[in-house]
Symmetry: C2
Subunit: 317 residues, 2 copies
């Protein structure tokens, strides 16, 4: 029996590494997860991942192309993780080459947000929009670009670092050392800071976000906002305004067919999308602003899904 | 004798339309200029331009591909000028098709900043940098993108509208109706406003920019700054800071090999480039910021030069 091609996406996180086996049409055929154990270094990690890939192939009865998605500053040309707070022990190691040797096949390796962008392009939007900007919303804000139907990563693999675009003159301090970065206002630590700021500004306002620890979680802020809490609604309006400036800039620069929000925090959906839409409506250049579609992604795991599909595209086998 | 191929660039401006004939290697073989006479509408314009193209071909003894560069919002897919304050009577007309019919050959048509970007890529940087952001500095600020060695114009031809990227929270009002756009701070009307602001802030400072009318011209501000006038130097520092925020954003988003400044105002060179370089040095992501090169273009007429060379690339003949 002919073994059909599948793509295997490997999403290397600080604690766990998730694997997903996907058919060329995007159907999920199998999943697995292995501990990353970063402190033991890259070699045992690669052995563990290779064993899991082979097990997935036995289970699905098909051989696969393989793609790595890694959070951090990835040199996709050389297949090296340049910098990654979550995977510091793997920095500088020729991760892609070692993985390709262990799996005996070419392996693609990209920043996880770039792979999420490919997932948005290939799955969420079914390849109908050749120009897609993906915004990944979690602790930080990441981004990935598909332009003219191709992943655009830039010469050092650093393109689409949307989170460090400046969205205001004298905004919150960012983890990168600058001020007013999109991430400092719309990443989960930015949202936490906005909650704190509002609680201080409105000392007499009652809000479930005033309970100890409640302001730490964006989910609590979206629950409270959905139940009508005015303070929580104002939190999301401010987050949406920061995102609005960012998306306006992205539309002027990339003229995308679609901007897709993905990642945990993006599930707040209309709470921040409404102010973003309002910002887009206010712009006078109608051609690009009338053209672009905004959505928050329906699927989860777009990073590993994208890595799986991208490996089928580019990885050969 | 075999007639070698040349490219003819046609830069349609509000008053004059400039033509340039260029060899495939970028050597200028001939030039001409015809009045645009926009108020008479597009048909006589096309006849006049076609006559000038034919004359250039007689002079150089070679047939040419032809490319149009037009300031404004260009639908390059359909070859229509969607909106252009300078060429309002041509809006909505199928300019490219009519020009192609008059010249009996395919014609490319793009926004002038996009063509300047192609000129920067193909001539200034000799095709050695596949990823180039061009910033055109004049009354407004325009932009064009070459990514992976290809012009990126976006689905509605609006990509690279760098001038309307927001660079500050509550900045100067922009011609587009928004506030804090790069153009409102670094276009020539933004520079004029900065001069006015500084003259107000420093009522006792002597400066040649205080002479009636002197603040209207960016050239006067650069002359004064070169002669050491502190107020004029501060003007360019502020312009450079606004550009610095813009270029930082561009590097995060596009990870370009080079950012090239072109257009009249860019001749101020280091007066604004130094603060931009300073802004880039302050960023903590070293891979993209260590990689990018900044320069102000040596050649003039990069819009028409770029249109000529681009027509050889894409226009066929």
């Amino acid at each position: 029996m002919k073994r059909e091609r599948i793509g295997i996406g490997i999403d290397a996180g600080g604690t766990f590494t998730k694997l997903i086996a996907v058919s060329e049409s995007g159907k999920v055929l199998g999943e697995d997860s292995v501990p990353t154990e970063r402190e033991r270094g890259p070699r045992p990690f690669i052995r563990r991942v290779a064993a899991a890939v082979h097990a997935l192939e036995r289970d699905t009865g098909r051989g696969g192309a393989a793609g790595l998605a890694v959070a951090g500053d990835v040199d996709s040309e050389r297949g090296v993780l340049r910098r990654s707070p979550n995977l510091a022990p793997f920095e500088g190691y020729t991760l892609r080459k070692a993985m390709a040797a262990a799996l005996e096949r070419p392996v693609t390796m990209h920043n996880d947000a770039n792979m999420a962008a490919w997932g948005c392009y290939a799955l969420e939007l079914k390849r109908r929009c050749p120009n897609v900007v993906a915004i990944t919303m979690g602790t930080g804000i990441g981004g990935g670009l598909v332009l003219d139907g191709r992943l655009y990563a830039g010469p050092t693999g650093s393109a689409g670092e949307i989170g460090h675009m400046r969205v205001t003159g004298d905004g919150f301090p960012c983890a990168c050392g600058a001020r007013g970065c999109l991430e400092a206002h719309a990443g989960s630590y930015g949202i936490r800071r906005t909650v704190k700021q509002l609680l201080r500004e409105r000392p007499h306002a009652r809000s479930p976000l005033r309970e100890p620890g409640a302001g730490r979680f964006p989910e609590r802020a979206s629950e409270a906002a959905r139940r009508g809490d005015p303070l929580a609604r104002e939190v999301w309006r401010r987050v949406g305004r920061a995102l609005g400036v960012g998306v306006v800039n992205l539309v002027y620069l990339f003229n995308p067919d679609a901007v897709v929000f993905t990642g945990g925090v993006s599930r707040a959906g209309d709470l921040f999308l409404d102010p973003v839409r309002q910002a887009l409506r206010a712009e006078s250049f109608r051609a690009p602003f009338g053209h672009v579609r905004l959505r928050s992604a329906r699927r989860r795991r777009l990073g590993s899904l994208g890595a799986a599909l991208y490996s089928l595209e580019e990885g050969g086998q």
